[in-house]
Symmetry: D3
Subunit: 153 residues, 6 copies
């Protein structure tokens, strides 16, 4: 078999312990995992793009098979560009599932690229980036949901 | 029985193959089906209203019992205006269902108008207008999800 | 258009106020509605088949366009036998929906027969036959969930 | 046991009959219930904050154990401030549940405060504030969903 | 207020760490919690009734406000018998929720007794009695899901 | 990396086109895929175990990296026995997901073995073995849901 490359795409605003666990799990099935930070120019982010990328890179600094890239096109186009055969996603609950299922079928329909899913760890299953942003906005503590949050500021 | 008229309401930004299939199914139960393009002045649409209406009309040009209208009031008020006894909706998944159920009960509570549901074809079950807009924004291909997309531009 | 016949199939052990409301709603779209009591010889029922059929017939004694029939074959085969173009089903919640969706797609795949769905009235949305059987087994009151329950005994 | 205080938080734009029923149910388990109107300065509300609070107060004018307060911090911080041991929430359907579950686990994780859930009455299960705002925007009637709606204007 | 009594009913075949956590949470809102082991003569259990009750009692031996009782009638009848104003239930996921919602509405409809819900701890959210029975049947280890499992044999 | 082995477990009564598609997808990520036919002596199957295994083997006769095995222990024990690092499962809808999530977390808790999920193809998303058995029992056609069904008899 040729080298297996998987893309883990998202806006990661911020990158949570849940995301982190999914990436670590995916290493067992892929030779290389690329974390793709999607940039949507019409969307506003709480955390600076450069900071977000540095933060993610710092978390996986010892993992030679993980890299962090930004992209500003359709996810499946970026897969083609980097040679990824699969999109990697985490699933927390059935709301997640419904949404992910639509996107995954659509991606397959337009490109033939499959999505592979891992379960988010139970202890992280309540974490999502938008709740973390809400806590941050209210000056609440986010360190139980994000590793090394100080790198984001 | 008097003439049975059904309203298929939506913003149709754009009108997908999934929508199209639901309308075709509904013809078996209604003498007349009106496709109502809802206009919400505070919402921004990707596709021009006039283009959206022409596109839908073109798809059903041979169906004398289907017509396309725009409306800018409560859906149930528009039903009363056009003499529709039922609202017609398609269901793809359980997320759809939860949302549609709330709206349908609410519509019944304020007007006594019932909603009747058809299943979206499995092959179109991943299609929704917002994903199509996202693909379009990134210059991806939308022709597997919309019939005659060229009419929208 | 030719006469529109719809089949409302189930085991109806017993036939609830929720079922009753769905049948009444379906009358607005069908010229004739047949309530089909499915008989599965390997299943055990709490209520006697003859009693169940008499009970349902009594509820609609004044509706000339409703009839009650038993059947012991695939639902879609029975549709073909009675000339029904559609299967009629009620939806209460998203658990219902998931199940009904599978069955409806399967029925369409093997026969081309469509299923049309109505929402169960909110006030009956907690009612289902198995809970009613449980109450009955414990000698609890079932008259708020079944019209004329005395006909079942 | 010491005095049991529960917080029922929300934006209540507007406060519906569904909210009202949940508060009345919660009185059986709490010595004092505080209805907390959350204020998010970056969000736009349809109904004026002062009006919303007066409306809610008027509905419970005879209940000495209910009070209405506004807050502009994390919900769990407000709990600490008012001495509430529990957050009170209503559940309508499984979409609600998924969302509420995430928030409740997050609140517990950062503060140890538990959430207790009541079911929304079936007859109010289609009501939610955003649908009511939509009806209002289109000049539809909202009095079947809100008690004393005239107090909101 | 008079003494608040809550019933936590189930078959508890066996009583899991998830059940245990819900009971402990409910103590904050009830003066007395009765764990009711429902006995259905037509159902087969893996664990002996007497063992199940001794096991549960042993877990709460230091809690004077918790007791264990068996019952063989409708849950709401047992509530009346023991003076419980509320049924207590835990919620793990949206499948649980759909089921619990039906039962709770039904119970309220026939008796006026409310159900109050707590979330199952995230770390126990995958545990349910039927999976544990499956593991046991295959001689797998159950001690991470049940406290003091040796008491069940 | 060492050889990656995945287990696709099930009762496969019968093995459907949906199962087949999941196995084919999993080949892209695993060096070897073992289809494990679980045998539960207290369960009754419609199709003979030997026939089921021959049927599955015949479908993949040209795939050297796929083999079919039966097992009669906990799934995770069988993984240990065959050296599988992952359990492979297909997901059709959110009902599937809820169930699979519980099992997967449980399996991880007792063994550390991860589960990886693929989406069932949309065109097979209504297929499941129990509906196929129902059709078969009523002498309906199953060839659109099972490849080479004649091998099962």
């Amino acid at each position: 078999m040729s080298k297996k490359i998987g893309l883990f795409p998202g806006s990661f605003d911020p990158f949570t312990k849940g995301h982190e666990a999914v990436v670590r799990k995916s290493l067992a099935l892929f030779d290389e995992v690329i974390i793709g930070v999607g940039v949507n120019t019409s969307k506003k982010y709480m955390f600076d793009l450069k900071k977000r990328m540095e933060h993610i890179s710092a978390l996986f600094v010892d993992q030679k098979t993980i890299s962090v890239r930004q992209f500003q096109t359709l996810t499946v186009n970026f897969c083609a560009e980097i040679g990824a055969s699969h999109i990697i996603r985490g699933l927390r609950d059935s709301k997640d599932f419904q949404y992910e299922k639509s996107i995954a079928h659509m991606n397959f329909d337009i490109s033939g690229i499959e999505t592979v899913f891992f379960l988010t760890d139970q202890k992280y299953s309540a974490i999502n980036s938008s709740i973390i942003r809400e806590i941050k906005k209210n000056n609440g503590p986010i360190d139980s949901f994000v590793t090394k949050p100080e790198l984001l500021f």
